[in-house]
Amino acid sequence: MSEETKTDEPPAIETTTVKVDGREIDVPKLTADWQGNLVPTTVLQACEHAGIEIPHYCYHPKLPVAGNCRMCLVHVGMPGRPGPDGKSPMNEDGTLKIDPMVLPYERSTPKGVIGCATNLVPGMEIYASSPETKEMREAVLESLLINHPLDCTICDQAGECKLQEYSVEHGQAESQFAEHKVHKPKAVDLGPRIMLDAERCVLCTRCIRFSKDIAEDDALGIVNRGSYNTIATFLDTPFDNNYTLNTVDICPVGALTSKDFRFQMRVWFLKETNSLCTGCGTGCNTVIGSRENTMYRYEPRENDAVNGPWMCDSGRLNYKWIGSEDRLSEIKGASGWATAITKISSKLEKAPSGSVAIIGGARQTNEELYLLKKLANKLEAITDSSPRMGEGDHLLSCPDKNPNSTGSRLIGIAGEELGSQLKHIASGIEAGTIKTLIVFGDDVTKTGISEALLDKLDLLVVSDILPNATTAKAHYLLPGCAHAEKRGTFTNTKGRVQKFMKALEAPGDARPEWEFLHELVENTTGQNGFSTIEGLFNQMAGEVEAFKVKELTWAKLGDTGVTIEL
């Protein structure tokens, strides 16, 4: 990895010239396939380079090519077969003779090729917007719609449906269909999280290919024949792996819907906010869909450096707590933020050196952990984060269930092994040398610091989002924000520093931790730091060695983050 990242100039990309709608463009000869292997560029990809979208249902850049929907049929011109001299037929002016493709048995009829599986051929001309191509698309779309229930009014996919979109762009207003529609199973319970409406399905097999080739769970298939084809699981085996909800994302129509989201909200009302999944150390990029301060769904946001276009089901459904009734929304120990911060500051100022311990949960952001570290430096406090380990898998789920263990290590809250200081903190409290404990986002009673030990403290300052045994013991309880309610960055297990944006307002008194930590640090250390997240990040990036090497700035992180060396 280091070799690659150090190379400034990417290797030269070999290109070839292709004519799209009469315009010559240069396109790379090779393009990455679904597994990342370089293979010859296809007609569909060449058109993408030309800025022309070839409509498609079954093709997905991260899945094996199936070629079944025929929506990407394009009329093309090809050089003629080489003659006995091995040369292709030429025009009089010496250029390669290009013949628009026709049916071999009916030479008056143009023949299309599927853009997704047809490689570029030197000299090829792509008639991406020709009447012939348009006619082929209209015909495929008409076929797809004849047996479709046209129930957009109650369909969850409405607003983000490729049948709708392509109908607008490439369809006809009327169908000639004069027969009875095929009826297929509706509201089929495919698994604990997925519902199938077989009548809406266009049988593109994206879900089948995803399950088999990405999730490695060959759970879905097709039963029956012809127009009666239906997606199904084997007998009554439920479709239940930790990635099933991705099939809802890639389903181009409303056939597969999420039980969690169906009938909850029309998608066009949703505000979309770039965010991150906090379920584990992978840091899958997400989009939060919210309306009127309520979150309705997570969707994966494509980032090839992290999660590709996928995310796991447990991560995706891990958002209900954000809007939970239980949320900590009141300050305990003081009548308002100003008083609380002043009181805590004055107590900390008086704390003898070495008598303070700080546990900064690895669910806090880089910026928050950085501010806690500043506090720790001033107070000469012992610090740590609690480890939260679980099971990982072959795809995205990481055994480290903290979203920011790496950040905690790099910033110096935790050592190489998370939690290695916890027993020293526990024995310090036991021995009475540690009198003050500051806990952010961690229930320490679960990681070796019992409630009895917490009772021995002179001062317990806790910030968290939901109540737990530690918050119950707090002398000062500072309600914090869910990531969806603030901005900040996490560093994933592979060293990807990524930022997330604010989608929702926090409940009651709750404030972004970095905001009040900034005040606490200013009061305690006398140093006035940055009061914006951008400034704070840039300040941290200038001080934390791993970030400094990459000259990170908030702006530089972009939407998909930057990988630093670990």
Binding site: V65, A66, G67, N68, C69, R70, M71, L73, L103, Y105, E106, T109, K111, G112, I114, A117, T118, N119, M136, A139, V140, E142, S143, L144, I146, N147, Q176, F177, A178, E179, H180, V182, V202, L203, G221, I222, N224, R225, G226, S227, Y228, N229
Partner: protein
Amino acid sequence: MPQEHKLLLKYADAPDYSKDLDCYERHGGYQALRQALGMKASTGADGNEVTAQAQLRKSVLDSGLRGRGGAGFSCGLKWSFVRHPNPKPVYLICNADESEPGTFKDKQVIYKDPHQLIEGMIIACWANHVNLAYIYIRGEFTEGAKILNTALAEARAKGYLGKDILGSGHDLEIHIHRGAGAYICGEETGLIESLEGKRAYPRIKPPYFPAALGLYMCPTIVNNVETLCNVKHIVEMGAEAFAKLGTPNNTGTRLVSLSGDVKQPGYFEIETGKVTLGELINDPNFGGGLRNGNQLQAIIPGGSSSKVLRAGETFKVGEEEMDLLDVPYDFDTLMKIGTMSGSGAIIVIDDSRDIIECLANLAEFYAHESCGQCTPCREGSLWMNKALHRLTHGEGRAEDPEYLKHIAHNIQGRTICAFGEACAWPVLSFVDKFKDKFEEKVSA
């Protein structure tokens, strides 16, 4: 008087002929295999060595043998698409999934002379460096599968199969695989998927040409039963003599399945192109004419998917004006008159039949057999079937002929496999040639 020319069916129906190995050997069986295995490498014009196998492949190419499954593609050319030596194993599959409606020719060989097929296969496997081959047999041929298995066991016991066949150093095993009753399994890539244990969804070509990425993604040759039998005869007769049978570019014999409204339906073996459609239907040596004094209405000349021909049609073939019944039964002339000889199945329809009912029946078959993988065929085949049955149930509309053509036109040439053509062509041709009958149907 036109005659049959029996090459493949020389012995099959003889009263004293049985399907066991002894009988086959008494009739000269497995001599062609010995002959092939005895071939020696030679030196080519360029001074390079030409292996015995390459010579045999060249011989099959020179014989002009065209595939008997339906497409009529040059067998030698098909074989030449496999590169030798190949880093992967090369497979050969005998397509015995005879399912094109009207076709019952391969069955004759399988049931009556199984060793002829096996000998042809062993030679073809040797010539193409194949050590493992399969016979994919139509599920309904339960008895055929048993017969072939018995024959394979006999051949194995005699050293025609297995390790070091007849001391040649060539190893070969052949397995029988029974289909489960889907027409699409006759499409070679659908067949390969099915053989791999999957749903018989034909593969997209490119990239999955069997010669490069066939069975288990290895180079694979898929040949029809009749085609493989012919390989034995090419070895026996020599390419030149074989090429003299039939007519130029339409060499050898063809097994013709004749069905429908003729007095003597059945199978016949003819020299390709030496017998006309009219003779096949009317000659006492063949169909013997129509029944009950009925008149000819239509001919489906090459299995149910070939385009229909209407009685009384005339065609211009080259400079020649030709009546339908004078059309020689071969590959090229039928293509020139806008249809095909396909699997060699001629379906005769007399004037007592409702032609729309006939088409509706075909459409029902195709709607039932469409695998449903790709959109135009999946949706279009059932759509046409519904429209045609609406017509036959008295609910026809004046616009239906054009409506049907619109649907069929949007299928042909736009699908993954040739099933698109197979279901579109009957509709396109029936509508074109029997427009008056559609009009009658609508007004009735």
